[in-house]
Amino acid sequence: MRAPAVLVLEDGRTFRGAAYGAVGETFGEAVFNTGMTGYQETLTDPSYHKQVVVMTAPHIGNTGVNDEDPESGRIWVSGYVVRDPSRVRSSWRAQRSLDEELVAQGVVGIAGVDTRAVTRHLRDRGAMRAGVFSGDAVADVDTLVERVRQSPEMVGADLAHEVTTPEPYVVEAEGERRFRVAAVDLGLKRATPRYLAQQGCEVHVLPATSTADDVLAVQPDGVFFSNGPGDPATTDGPVAIAQRVLEQRVPVFGICFGNQILGRALGLGTYKLRFGHRGVNQPVMERATGRVHVTSHNHGFAVDAPVDGTPVDTPYGRVEVSHVDLNDDVVEGLRCLDVPAFSVQYHPEAAPGPHDATGLFSSFAELMEGARASTH
């Protein structure tokens, strides 16, 4: 018999359920994810740091947990909200049950909740702070709401340094080495260096706290800015790096948080979305070709730029919005017209999600190829 648990939202709405994973209490920004597969990748995506993730898919844990699918060394979500956790694991790759894994990593979750009701609430009211309390942590609602309101906001949170690698490390290129890439780890997922390596990149993964000199010291053919958690408006270090790299005309590629970093480096603003994009079914149009890709998303903030296609002048020349989300016209990609730099707000590395956009990694390779040609 699972201990009682309650999900408490900052605006006072509560949902009762049963403890799932570790028993105790936890706080974070409540967000929902609409993916029907890939809970393991989602849980281990550093971008979910400090977030209480609500899964809209009703059955979670069916295929258990294995050591191949994690996108980082640990589970990052601060809390997990599901409707129907699986008792058994059904996959030839499964090594443990998800429940065991959550307990082992001390992740407090809640099950048996009307996750659709929670989702509709967040959709209408916007993402907000939340707390999950189970077992002895369950107390009277007013106190719990109070404590949720005392927990830190996502707006203004600088979190990249909390999830980044402590030490630099290198991922070898697959096959012959064609490029050296400096990857600034703001919450890097494992799939990304894998895709870069496939393009013949030797990937030097550097901590978020690195300086521009650290990055340039690698003598990179290209610089990569990863995805990651927090409010881009407060993450100044990486922005400074990006600006130096742009001045040097070293090719730049950014994903998700990296897209916002490039945007800020170019002088564009960022803002918080009402409830963000989290799922694996978002239709994104590539302006240049009109092609629509079904893409994997995980972002609560977005870059503020004109989506009608008019280029914006920046200290580094013109930049245009290269990709838009067809659901809500949110900026999903930037392309510089006068310096070798581009970025996307979504996840071409997928994991979880469709592989429609993996071509972007070869685009990065071509960009580096081109830059090399022009300098020699």
């Binding site: 949902f15 929902f32 609409t34 993916g35 029907m36 597969t37 890939g38 393991q40 990748e41 809209t56 898919a57 009703p58 059955h59 069916n62 295929t63 294995n66 191949e68 699918d69 409707r83 129907d84 699986s86 008792r87 058994v88 059904s90 996959s91 030839w92 790759r93 009307d114 996750t115 659709r116 009701a117 989702t119 509709r120 959709r123 799922g279 694996v280 079914n281 978002q282 239709p283 149009m285 009109g290 092609r291 629509v292 079904v294 067809l326 659901n327 809500d328 997928a350 994991a351 979880p352 999600g353 469709p354 592989h355």
Partner: protein
Amino acid sequence: MPRRTDLEHVLVIGSGPIVIGQAAEFDYSGTQACRVLRAEGLRVTLINSNPATIMTDPEFADATYVEPITPEYVAKVIAKERPDALLATLGGQTALNAAMALHDAGVLEQYDVELIGADVDAIRRGEDRQAFKDVVDSVGGESARSAVCHSMDECLAAVGELGYPVVVRPSFTMGGAGGGIAHDEAQLRRIAGSGLQASITTEVLLEESILGWKEYELELMRDRADNVVVICSIENLDPMGVHTGDSITVAPALTLTDREYQRMRDLAIDIIRAVGVDTGGCNIQFAVNPADGRIIVIEMNPRVSRSSALASKATGFPIAKIAAKLAVGYTLDEIPNDITRETPASFEPSLDYVVVKIPRFAFEKFPGADPYLTTTMKSVGEAMAMGRSFLEALQKAMRSLEAGHGGFWTTPDPDGATVESSLREASVPHDGRLLAVERALRLGATAEQVHAATAIDPWFVDQLQQLVELRAEIVAAPDGPLEEELLRAAKRTGCSDRQLAALRGTTEAQVRARRHELGVRPVYKTVDTCAAEFEARTPYHYSAYDEESEVAPSSRDKVLILGSGPNRIGQGIEFDYACVHACYALSDAGFETVMVNCNPETVSTDYDTSDRLYFEPLTVEDVLEVVHAEQLSAEQGGGRVVGVVVQLGGQTPLKLARELEDLGVPVVGTPPEAIHLAEERGAFGRVLADAGLPAPRHGVATSYDEAKSIADDVGYPVLVRPSYVLGGRGMEIVYDDEMLVGYIRRATEVTPEHPVLVDRFLEDAVEIDVDALYDGTDLYLGGVMEHIEEAGIHSGDSACSLPPTTLGRKDLERIRHSTEAIARGVGVRGLLNVQYALQNDVLYVLEANPRASRTVPFVSKATAVPLAKAAARVMLGATIAELRGEGLLPAVGDGGELPFDAPISVKEAVLPFGRFHGVDTLLGPEMKSTGEVMGIDAVFGTAFAKSQAAAYGELPTKGRVFVSVANRDKRAMLFPVKRLADLGFEVVATEGTAEVLRRNGVSVSVVGKHSDGRGDDVVPLVMAGEIDLIINTPWGVGARVDGYEIRTAAVTRGVPCVTTVQGAAAAVQGIEALVRGDIAVRSLQEHHAALAASTRAAQAAT
């Protein structure tokens, strides 16, 4: 890219009659397509021989041809209409094959018609098993090892390589027709033999067996900008080896990690590109090895399929509608998602619920049929349910089936069931296998044992295990009412009040009372394609025991329309047609229409057919809760629930009428007491007596002795049957005491609650079917149908003609008067269907059904009058006079007095015998047909010929006819056979028949009797394809061995086989028409215009 401007006129091909493997779902997709294309301002020409479809309603196309879907007839339509393009990907395999034939015959080229949706090469690559394997290979996918064979020798050789068991799969067929799993040479010879028959390219594929692997399906769409999206993933609970159409299927896939799922998705996208389905939908099936995740591609359908309909209903993404838009040039991103309105169709739906589909079988109707499930599809319908968990959806789907049980625990376990016997039972796939699985677990089998026996994925087994554990808690709970927590837990897993009552030894009413007392009621969630990420604009709901309900308040007067549930023999698409028409008519009349149904194949469950759609089982419990939810919505919004319509969905909703009314639900139309008057034999007898109408002498028996004394009294032969049935279930003609004993023994539950009806059987009587409307004052005679086969062959299985061809004025007057008397006596408000038998000038009443009948759509199309629409209005208080005034009904006259030059419409039934090997194809009082076609023309012969061509393929105009008839038929058979001889047919007959023919100057060659076993009989000739037409009437009483063998051979070889004298006469007229060779095609619109004109003329004359 915007829509193509070079297209102005599109020809859409429907899928023809409902057959196993191709059911109502293609009416749903075709209707959507026609709607879309017309909304785009295109001229739409439609050809479909199935009158029971919504798509063939004249308002859905500019020109609607109810003509056979054969290359010949489609070519005639093309020559007459000259369309720019042909859309054949929405009419199932029938349309696709017709299109291919037209291409090969050069017709498309000759008239410069472009095939849109998928081009010929794409269709070939997708449909031709070997070509497809090459495609799979080219994209780095894997297929099962196999060999294409064109002869039995090639098959035997191939098996040497592949070994047994081996899977036989013919090309260009649907629903696995002619396929199967062969475990030895004998089976191989049988299966591959008929497989070579079934394939239009006499080609079968022998394939390595991968029985027991996990089976999946993906539904994809692609536009001409090469954008591809996956609409839905479907997982089969029954592993490989059971046809998807016969499997319990689940959406979305539940036991794949993202890595495996994405691999499958990548493969599917590469395949759709390589095959070259450039615009529209397609469906690809995969098998996954549970041991190592190895993926094998099974097949693709380069068209909208059965599963696409399921996927559309499961996700809210209307695949057929979008496919039609893509076919005329739009791209996915240009098409709005009409559920969210804001977002485009170029996304992939996300589900926050689970969908379960369970097939509905009809083995009870085909004694002798192999009841095991294999690669040949055998189900006749399906029910779908949604829930917030797998178990909730599964249990709702189970009770939606109306398969004799109300889900788990509602029927007793078989005597002496043990773990072993249950596991053994579960190890062979069959209808109701899940009951055996649950029983095995309940009796103590481990999940591992069940998985080992069934190969059902451990996750699903554990779900059932959880249900078994919950059951134990419920049974063990202290006496008296259940605790709220346990009750909630039970409802969350989808248990019905009836199931709980069964477990607690109380009544459904008590459980319901307890539930309501505790406020344990379902909420209604919304199908929105996006897991609540965006707001849904379409109220498409399903119930769940969860926290928050999403039913919006409304201020309008609401009418609930109860649908007809899963298709089955005796209750098919015709009833959905009536329900859909009620929706249209009532929303035109200003009501808010609320549809309740659980059949994913139908138009009624399209979210834009009614104002609100509840995808729910049709049980008292589920309907009551919907009514309650709508009453709340009315209270909050200031509207009211004015009524519930139970008369249009066939027996399913009719059965609920009384109980619903007793529970305070406003049932509109014919009141339940009146329904009872018509359904209950004694009461109905009194109605007839009062009206002075004769009925066959009859009685009601609750035991053999009673039955026997009635039989002695009314005299043999008698017709016996259980009361309260549709489609003549369990109905038999009994010729003597011995047969009577047998019947009573077989009719298991003969009790005072379930008596047997014993009627005098009227021999050689003409059967007449009537559909009428009654408003309490006036009668509107919708149509009078004269059956071609004599009474004794179920009305649903016999061909009939409208207007009647041999009835005189006097008969029609009698029919009108009798029908009116019955309508008045019963107290009908709405539709009434009466069946009469005319025997030596006495008009007997066989039965009256106070509801929409199977023939309503046929009548509506034959007479150009929307009967069901009018009925819905009458049920809500409109009078026939008012409707005549409105123009919904003709100002004067009705279907009983059609002008003499009115076109003749012939309805022919389509039978599924081809699917059930070794089943007698003889017709009787128990209905066996799955669908029907309509042939319409100025003269009977031609109309009949068309109906045959549509149902079974063209009648022969020359060649050899085999005649073998019962003695009583010999005289009647003379003329037609002589006529055939005059037309140049060579006649072959059995001894007795031959004598009579010879004596009357017909030259005949004699063949022996099969039963003599000398091998000189006709069966080998039929098998050798040397017989073109068979006239074979039953041998009266007793063994019908010969007839049986002959008819079976006929089915195997697809030779037209007439089993009644009347049918033979009609066939001859049809053949004469064909010989004259002047058969033309004419659209319903033309027919209806002509009819209107001559009606006006006739009135002017009088």
